[in-house]
Structures are given as C-alpha cells and as structure tokens.
C-alpha cells in the first residue's frame, strides 16, 4: 500500500483516456443518437401527417361521391323531365299536324266543291243557251245575251 509514482501514471493515463474518449468516441456516438431520435421524431410526425392526410382524403372522397350522386340524380331528373317534355311536344305536334292536315283536306274539298259548282254553272249556262236555242229555234246573238245568261248562271 505504498503511494508512489503509480499515482501519477494512473492520473496521466486517465487523462489520456478521457481525452481520447472526448475526442473520438463521444461525439460520433452522441451525434448518431441525436440524429436517430430526430429521425424517429420526423417519422412519427410524418405518420401523423399521413394519417391526417388520409382522413382528409377520405372525407374528400366521400364528399365527391356524395356530390356526384346528387349530380347524377339531378341529371336523371332533368332527363326525365326532358323526355316528358319531348313526348308532350311530340303529341302536340302530332295533334297540330293532324289538325292542319284535316284543315288542308277540308279546304281542298271545299275548293273542289267550288270548282265543281263553277264547272256545273258553266255547263248550266251552256245547256241553257243550247236549250234556249232549241226552244227559240233561232240563233241567239251570243254577244247580246251573254250578259243575261251570265247573270243567270251567277244566280244558280
């Protein structure tokens, strides 16, 4: 149990060990530890952010889905409405067309009737002339009596 030079030798080697540890061992290890803890913290934060994003995206997706459903319903409704309208329009058109055709046909018939009447009238006047000629036995001056005959024909 002698105190001797070993004391100094130990102190010196201790100092050298501490110096080496301080210079070459501690800094890289502690730096790595800090970096890893930062990495982990970043990772956790990223995970949090991602789950938040996911939630947001899900919400967005459901909203879009809802909107598109609404849109689709609206479109279908519009289409239905439009179809009904088209049917109605077509009906109206058909009715109008039918009416127009009937009117046209009626007008034509009336015209035909008129034309036939005219023709009959003309023939009546010719017949009247011929009858009168035969009755009178003489030639009637057509020019002189045509006025009378036409008047007659008009009255028919």
């Amino acid at each position: 149990m002698n105190l001797n030079l070993t004391l100094l030798g130990q102190a010196i080697s201790f100092a050298i060990f501490v110096w080496f540890c301080m210079k070459y061992v501690w800094p890289p290890v502690i730096a790595a530890l800090e970096e890893r803890s930062k990495k982990i913290a970043d990772g956790l934060e990223a995970a949090n952010r991602a789950s938040r994003d996911l939630e947001l995206a899900q919400e967005q997706a459901s909203q879009i889905l809802r909107e598109s459903k609404e849109n689709a319903a609206e479109i279908i409704e519009q289409a239905n409405k439009r179809a009904n309208q088209m049917v109605d329009e077509a009906k109206e058109q058909v009715i109008a067309d039918g009416k127009r055709l009937r009117e046209a046909a009626q007008a034509e018939i009336e015209q035909d009737v008129m034309r036939a009447k005219e023709a009959l009238r003309a023939q009546v006047s010719v017949l009247a002339f011929a009858g009168a000629e035969k009755i009178l036995g003489a030639t009637i001056d057509e020019k002189a009596h045509s006025e009378i005959v036409e008047q007659l024909a008009k009255e028919l």
Partner: protein
C-alpha cells in the same frame, strides 16, 4: 529455487503485494523482491502490474467504443453498436439529470470513469490465482526470476494509487471548474466566507477545506476499500481446501457482480455531482 509451499499468511501477503519497479536504496534500478524492498523504494517506484492491466483495460475500452463509433449508423443498431449506445445513453442520461451546465468534458469523462472502473473492478471476478500463476510462469521462464518473488496483483482498483490517481484528477477538475466558473475570488470566497461570514474566516477555511479535500479522498478510498476487501475475501476463500471453495466463492462472486457495477456507478455519479457543484454559484 522451487516454489515454496506457502503458509496462509505468506500466501495472502504474496497476493496483496504489487509488482514494483523502482530504485533500490543501493542505487540500482529493478523490481522489488519483497514487500520491504518495495516499501524502501519510496515514492519513485511504479506498480508495473497495476499500470499494465489498467492501461490494457483502458485500451480495450477505447478500442471497443472507437470501433463502434467509427461505423455507427442511424439505422437499426446491431451488436456492439447497441451496447455502446446503451452505455452512452445511460451515462448521458445520468449526466443530464445531475449536471445542468454546459460542458463537453463531463459526459465523456463520466463514460470513461464508468467503463474503465468497471473493467478494472471486473478483474476481481477472475480467480485469484490465474493471472498471478501466468505471471509467475512468464517471470520464471522468460526473466529467470525466483517464483517466490514474482508478484502480480491484477485488480488495479485494489491499488490505492490507481483510485487516488483518478480521484485526484477529478479533484483537479473540481478546482479548475470552480475557478473557471466563479473566478479566483469567487472560489476563495466560497472557501472562506461560508458558512459563518467574514469574522470567522479561519474556521470557515478549515471547514470548507476539509469538505473540499474530503471529496477526492473519499472517492478514492470508497472504491479502493470496497474492492480491496472483496479481493481479500476471495484470497481468504482461496485458502480453503479446493473442494470447498466453490461453496463460498460462487455466492461471493455473484454478490460481487453487484458491487463492481455499483462502485463504478458511484464513482461516476459522485464525479458528476462534484463537478456540477463546482459549476454552481452559491
């Protein structure tokens, strides 16, 4: 020059003697052949065994930790890196808990103390005759020494020089930081003006001086005492008949696992506490 069959007391004394190199009273340099010669060498002698083992263990510590530190990665740690990170994190936590100032020295200092002291203490668990027997073989066959004069005390922390060497270094750091943080006047003031004010300066100085000096002395003696006692008990157990030794040495060794870690931890913790006290202004 055969090996004398030792008596119990000579066996114990042999195991408690360091291998000492120094100057004999007659002026020649060499190894001491017995305890008296070693004592006669006075201060200018060196314990070869303590130095060799402690430096080897210091290199082992630095080599291991440097190896891990060089290829440290921030990915999933494996093997040695795990162990090193565990130690560094543990020491860093202890330092941050106690020491609130900023210092680049204290944490590596604490790590060095903890691991180095632990390794030196760990030597205590090696059976008491293994390394001395190896040393004796080398001493007799390589250097032609008398086997009875080859001493080898292989637990550095059972040498008061080793523990006191460390604690005095810590003491130097305490004084250095006290002066650095508080200035010379602050440090002197702390020693003289407390606890009783300026009319009691001599008494204050005595009180505070004892308190200051007690730090390194208690630090060194606590570690030395624990390990010396532990080693002594291992030596005493080794005197028993060989068939009985395990019955005592195994429980004592298991208990000692606790002691060696605890003492390394206490040395480290007290160093941190003393240095943080040196950093604090009263």
């Amino acid at each position: 020059m055969g090996i004398e069959s030792p008596t119990a007391s000579s066996y114990i004394k042999h195991h408690l003697q360091n291998l000492t190199y120094g100057q004999h009273p007659d002026g020649t340099w060499g190894l001491a052949h017995d305890a008296k010669e070693a004592a006669d060498m006075g201060f200018w002698a060196i314990h070869v065994d303590t130095m060799a083992i402690s430096i080897a263990l210091g290199f082992l510590f630095l080599w291991l930790f440097r190896k891990a530190a060089k290829k440290i990665s921030t990915d999933t740690p494996t093997g040695l890196q795990n162990f090193v990170e565990l130690m560094v994190e543990f020491v860093d936590g202890s330092v941050k808990e106690t020491f609130h100032g900023k210092s680049k020295v204290i944490a590596p200092l604490a790590l060095t103390i903890f691991v180095w002291v632990f390794l030196m203490n760990f030597m205590d668990l090696i059976p008491v005759d293994f390394l001395p027997a190896v040393a004796q073989m080398i001493g007799t066959s390589v250097f032609g020494a008398d086997p009875n004069h080859v001493y080898f005390k292989f637990v550095p922390t059972t040498d008061i020089n080793a523990t006191l060497g460390m604690s005095l270094s810590v003491f130097a750091l305490i004084v250095f930081y006290s002066i650095k943080v508080k200035g010379i006047s602050g440090f002197v003031g702390e020693l003289t003006l407390q606890p009783f004010g300026k009319w009691m300066i001599p008494f204050n100085l005595l009180l505070e001086g004892v308190g200051l000096l007690a730090k390194p002395v208690s630090l060194a003696l606590r570690l030395f005492g624990n390990l010396y006692a532990g080693e002594l008990i291992f030596i005493l157990i080794a005197i028993l008949p060989w068939g009985l030794q395990w019955a005592l040495s195994v429980p004592w060794a298991i208990f000692h696992i606790l002691i060696i870690v605890l003492q390394a931890f206490i040395f480290m913790m007290l160093t941190i506490v003393y240095l943080s006290m040196a950093h604090e202004d009263h």
